[in-house]
Amino acid sequence: MNAESSVRLVNVTKQFPVPEKGQADVRAVEDISLDIREGEFFTLLGPSGCGKTTTLRLIAGFETPDSGMVIIGGQVANELAPYQRPVNTVFQNYALFPHLTVEQNVAFGLKVKRIPVPEQEQRVNEALELVQMGAYGRRRPSQLSGGQQQRVALARALVNRPAVLLLDEPLGALDLRLRKDMQYELKRLQVEVGITFIYVTHDQEEALTMSDRIAVMNQGEVLQIGSPSEIYDQPVDRFVASFIGDTNLLNAQVVSVKNGHVRLQMGGGEVELPRNGREVTAGQGVTVAIRPEKLRILRSDGKPKRGIQLHGQIRETIFAGPDTRHLVNLENGERLVVLIRSKDVAGKQHFEPGDAVEVSCDSSGPRLLLQ
């Protein structure tokens, strides 16, 4: 992957008028800046209504920004119509033309660009083979299953060899099993064709599985951009921490700050954490995020240990396949979820509700967040 920029959004804002009179405009996206690299699998992740689809539509050209710049392949594209942009879209409901066959659907883009017929045929066949739909060329979209329509929609977009492929929740309508298969399939395709994918989803697992980088969005703003592991391990705020994966959010108060560390009053005890470059002062309230799988449970024995240590009582244990969730009430009344691998639960790690325990983890586990 080279570092050349494929799509850039610079301070893009787009508002939609609200039908009711006298109301302020709803800001679909506000002051968004993204720099998407060539050949990257880039995901816009967020809850519905966060502006991720609007962002995609701004890149596709179905919406024009109120302010800011959309730059595609080094060219300012604000004023370009959708048909003038080197991008193609896979729509959420596939949007296959019902009056055309699969072949005609895939050939549509080549036909309107007046590509010679022999080349059209060759490229259509290649594209259909690429998505393993070679045998279905003569069918109508209505004769295909959802997964097959999905593949045709992909072929129809890819056959044009766009610089960027935009995918708007393409797996949303498929059942869980098919969705998982298609996740690997899409990733394989992206590596194979080597073009930039910009993928919109509200499914954090999907985003983590496929993406090179993820932009987490909420309420029209981009909160964090990073690799899946960065987003997962180093969330920048409460929203990102809780939207991606399960997480424990504990309220804490700064006791003292020294160099790169802070001492916090948290969960009925005192802990020391890396500051992560955050500006905090003594007495300030902060949030600490800890992933459930980074915590361990030990029987209380009164001895102090290295790292972080909180006292509590087992409230409930819930078997969930490979892991067993342990709910622990801390001394100050807050609750923690701790994951223990189910195969370990039978032995030393067996706890019953009511057991007094210590919850601990390395000081690198918890993540200091401003409110």
């Binding site: 596709a60 050209g61 179905f62 119509a81 959708p82 048909y83 991008v87 193609n88 879209t89 729509f91 409901n93 596939y94 949007a95 296959l96 033309f97 019902p98 009056h99 549509f108 883009g109 309107v112 660009k113 979209p141 209505s142 959802g146 329509q149 129809r156 977009a157 044009n160 309508a173």
Partner: protein, 271 residues
């Protein structure tokens, strides 16, 4: 309970029979009398004859009026189709200032009595110094047909997703190509249905034609003028029978096409 249900069923059947009688009896009688060998429209029937149909083919004035009606019908329907389709696309696919007002105004002819419309257009044409002729009738018919076309086509446009058009543009089609390759083909059944329903409306329409026709008669106007001559009555009856049958056939065809369209949109895509 069972008795009450039986009674209700009989009442229902009776109601239905009466309805059918009042709706279809006159039409049936029309057809029967068109074959009756007498100038007086009364029972008992005298005998079977094709004379009136034969005479129909000889009546030059009448054939001219049919020609006029066909001409006005085609002209008015073609123009209504174009204008109504454009209006439907504007309403369904664009957000613009005054959209609701536009929709109300475009639908207004649906509720204005034809007599009022006829007088209004008559005043307008004479104020503008336009001589009344067949094409003034056609203009009147365009006014009444545009809302129908608009509603029929708009219903079809609502039936398929707007993002099919976005998909076309995304694949490189200009607005015009999208219109001709996606929007119009997908709307085709509605367009044909709209054209046919415009045509039958225009072909049968009397009030506006009566006000706006000038010296040339359309068929309904001619038919009405013939009612003054008792000897011409059977001719009018047999002609009415022909028009009736053709109109019904055309309407059935247009409804059938509309359903094909609706069926096709149901099987399209997911869900």
């Amino acid at each position: 309970m069972a008795e009450a249900r039986v009674a209700a069923r009989w009442a229902g059947a009776g109601y239905y029979a009466l309805l059918a009688l009042f709706l279809y009896m006159p039409i049936f009688l029309l057809i029967v009398f068109s074959f009756n060998d007498s100038v007086i429209l009364a029972f008992p029937l005298k005998g079977f004859t094709l004379e009136w149909y034969h005479e129909l083919l000889q009546a030059e004035e009448l054939l001219a009026s049919i020609k006029n009606s066909l001409l006005v019908g085609f002209l008015a329907s073609a123009v209504s189709l174009a204008l109504g389709t454009l209006a439907a696309i504007a309403i369904m696919r664009f957000r613009f200032r005054g959209r609701d007002t536009f929709l109300s105004f475009a639908s207004l002819p649906l509720v204005i009595p034809y007599v009022v419309l006829g007088v209004a257009l008559l005043i307008l044409f004479s104020a503008l110094g336009i001589d009344l002729y067949l094409w003034t009738v056609a203009i009147g018919h365009v006014v009444i047909n545009v809302p129908y076309v608009m509603l029929i086509v708009a219903a079809r446009l609502a039936g398929f997703q707007a993002n099919l058009e976005e998909a076309a543009m995304d694949l490189g089609a200009t607005y015009w190509v999208t219109l001709t390759k996606v929007t119009l083909p997908l709307s085709a059944p509605a367009l044909v249905a709209a054209f046919l329903s415009s045509f039958t409306t225009s072909f049968d329409e009397f009030t506006l034609a009566f006000f706006l026709a000038g010296t040339q008669n359309t068929l309904p106007v001619y038919l009405y003028s013939q009612l003054r001559f008792p000897s011409r009555l059977p001719l009018a009856v047999s002609l009415a029978a022909v028009v009736m049958v053709v109109s019904i056939l055309i309407l059935l065809l247009s409804e059938w096409l509309r359903r094909i369209g609706a069926g096709a949109s149901k099987t399209k895509g997911i869900k």
